[in-house]
């Protein structure tokens, strides 16, 4: 069922597809994070903004990935840029919500205690609220990362690389050749599991106070 010799001959292809998949996942998650955290903070500070921000992101999230990819074509063509923008919109939605929920999860007495200790708002945000919001935020990053790993596969429609190309171009389009299909699938699942475990490890590192609980 699996042609191991084919895998041996194509390690370069497999490796470059995996690398592309990683870049196409990491970029949207990082860009989404850079945009979402300030937006989430802003929405928390001005409650009037929170409802529209959540409503708009809720509607954006219902747009199918297939559609999101092709909406970008008039602007940025069949390029990696299109894929990164489309994927960033999805991560943004998840991460804005995670930031808002994370900041909302900081207990009120902690916030008041910080204020009583003389923290100015900016310092309180950086040293008290954001660190305490981390578990919820990282839970959001985990969802965004794992779903992006899956969404990158749809990028084959606009011809971006990644493991979807391995499955589609090297397997499916070549007379249903199963070896690249199984290989791509196994690597996508492996990437998701490894990325998720890595983020759990990062969370444990960044929130030492929650250990041992």
């Amino acid at each position: 069922m699996i042609d191991w010799a084919w895998i041996g001959r194509h390690t370069d292809d497999i490796w470059s597809a995996t690398r592309e998949h990683l870049v196409l996942t990491a970029l949207p998650v990082l860009l989404g994070l850079i945009l979402a955290v300030p937006l989430g903070i802003l929405a928390t500070r001005t409650p009037r903004l929170a409802t529209p921000v959540l409503a708009v992101s809720g509607v954006l999230y219902t747009i199918p990935a297939l559609a999101m990819f092709v909406f970008m074509i008039p602007f940025t063509g069949l390029t990696v840029t299109s894929a990164v923008i489309a994927l960033t919109i999805y991560t943004l939605i998840v991460l804005v919500r995670a930031t808002i929920d994370g900041l909302a999860s900081v207990p009120r007495d902690v916030r008041e205690a910080a204020e009583a200790m003389g923290y100015r708002p900016a310092a309180r945000l950086l040293r008290v609220e954001l660190p305490l919001a981390l578990p919820v935020l990282i839970a959001g990053i985990r969802i965004a990362t794992v779903s992006t790993i899956g969404l990158v596969a749809i990028g084959v429609i606009i011809n971006v690389g990644g493991l979807g190309r391995l499955v589609y171009s090297l397997g499916f389009q070549r007379n249903f050749f199963m070896t690249p299909i199984w290989t791509g699938l196994a690597l996508i699942v492996a990437l998701s599991v490894v990325a998720d475990l890595a983020l759990i490890a990062v969370e444990r590192r960044l929130t030492p106070w929650s250990r041992g609980r």
């Binding site: 747009i63 199918p64 074509i73 596969a153 429609i157």
Partner: protein, 247 residues
Amino acid sequence: MVQGPLRVDFLTVLADWISDPARWTGATGIPNRLLQHLGYSVGATLIAAAIALPLGIWLGHTGRYGNLAIQITNVGRAVPTLVLILLLFALWPFNVAVIFAALVALAVPPILANAYVGIRQVDPEVRDAALGMGMRGTQLLREIEIPVAIPLIMSGVRTSAVQIVATAGLAAFVGFGGLGRLVIDGVAKGFRGTARGLPEVVWGAVLIAALAVLTELLLARVQRAVTPRGLRRQATPASEIPSASTT
């Protein structure tokens, strides 16, 4: 590709494409594509609900094996639906059951998890009161646990249905119809000049997105309608992080 910013003539091209009578008749017309899309979506949602609802409710009622079941379905979520469709189609070529199987696999986890959590989250005091009143087994389940859990159970069905509608477009990847066909055909025609594949792609995308939003709105109303009156005023959780992707 459109040169420079979107121009008015592009909008004209879009309007011309959709108002062409040829788009509205025959096997490749929009009504037929819409019907195919709805067929996959409704069928897959019903099958997924028929599998996941009884299982989730039963797991929640007995309280056993629930976390195990959720863990197993979560691992399944890492498999992108497109890859699953390609794999199943390669194994069983030209069998439309492939589309249903892939969409059902996508939809089962949210329904199962919400049904399980919904039943588990029934206030123990409410359950105790019902037990004290002499309710047992299925009566407790039917008259107390399911009605109280209905908002969560329905929100799982809603999430799944919207994901299915959004994802059913992928059926066109393997030659089955649906609204995704417009997108795939348009991409195949290319984008040099606005008149070629672009209007088809844009309309396909717009129609799928609109159908997904409509599904969300419709099922939100259904969810309200089937919620027992006493529970309606309770606010639903304000901001739920979407649990899975529209892969």
